[in-house]
């Protein structure tokens, strides 16, 4: 097994992932002034769709209090967070294609579908209360020296523990 094969085709160890993600996050902060974050792009997607349906969500308390945080010239569908989300999907797709691992993996059953939807809703709702997901309120928040990053990390662990019990009981 030569070096090229080991570098390119074999999975990288976890710690390499940790080092590279840490460095990329620093680079992102230095060059753009903002740290890595994701979930607000999901809100923008939902907000944009509701706007298209004729629901004026700009009146909502959330957007009135905190503003949309969109820069001049940005829309709910076209903004820096959306670029990040799409780039991550395409990066992963490119990487999977490179090692010929891409394949459509179907949903196994109804139970899985229900838990996927429910889990997604819980996560999405949680991110509004805690100002971010485990990227924005944890992986980027702890290095920003904001106390909420540590509190989020500790209580996410509590949640993961409860989730694991649910997983054992109802899903596995």
């Amino acid at each position: 097994m030569n070096l090229k094969h080991r570098l390119l085709k074999k999975p990288w160890p976890y710690w390499v992932g940790g080092v590279v993600l840490g460095l990329l996050n620093i680079f992102l902060l230095f060059t753009t002034g903002s740290a890595w974050k994701i979930t607000t792009s999901f809100l923008y997607l939902g907000a944009g769709l509701l706007n298209k349906l004729g629901i004026n969500i700009n009146d909502w308390y959330y957007f009135k209090t905190y503003g949309t945080k969109l820069n001049v010239g940005e829309t709910y569908f076209s903004n820096s967070l959306m670029i990040m989300a799409i780039a991550m999907i395409l990066g992963s797709l490119a990487s999977a294609l490179f090692v010929s691992e891409f394949g459509i993996k179907k949903i196994k059953n109804k139970k899985q579908l229900t838990f996927a939807l429910l889990g997604g809703i819980m996560m999405g709702y949680g991110t509004r209360l805690s100002f971010g997901c485990n990227v924005g309120a944890y992986f980027s928040a702890i290095p920003s020296f904001s106390l909420h990053g540590w509190i989020f990390g500790i209580f996410m662990f509590v949640g993961a523990w409860i989730g694991s019990k649910i997983l054992f009981k109802y899903i596995l």
Binding site: G17, M122, F131, F145, V158, G163
Partner: protein
Amino acid sequence: MKSSRIEELKRQRQIEIRPKKSQLPFFFFLISICIVFYLYLFGSNKIYSIIWAIGILIGITMQRSGFCFVASFRDPVMVGSTSLFRAVIIGLMISTVGFGIFQYITISNIPNYLIDDIPGQIFPVGINTMIGAILFGIGMVIAGGCASGTLIRIGEGHVMQIVVLVGFVIGTVLGAGHFGFWDKLIISSSKTIYIPQYMGFLPTIIIQILVLGILYILAGWYDRKNSIMNL
């Protein structure tokens, strides 16, 4: 075992692990599109082009290393393994130093800086953080992916993660819709706590690195005692 039998087994095995169909042509096609779009962004908005490039690199890194924030929290409970958790800690230690330097440079240029001037993710902390984090923690384990992991698995072709994403969009919209309620109830009384304001800049960085280091060592010790991979 007779050599003919061995040969037969070898042949059988080769049939079983027939090499997968190469997807390299699709890779080159996709990468060319990504580069063209990068050049387009570079011409119109430099910041966007950087975000685009870093996003793609994050996607590649997470896919290649199997990096998953959910597993980093779930594996210690379910299988006793902390190797992913330790990888996250390494990432946090590195970015602590980098973020610290960037914040220090930024703040030193602003006399009487405000919290809003400090770059990074700095937000109020309180009961709302705890409730949000617990909801998030339960959700990510039962859905089998967090925000970043969901995007990565969509890229790999998992249909289920598209459902998670739909849920995510619904959840963030609902959360934003109910925000007034939560704000009046809890969030308005939550304070934004930027640790260096209380402990000083350098001590905060040093203490944070130490705490992360201790967590790393404890996680390694926990892994050696509990991981089913070690049995």
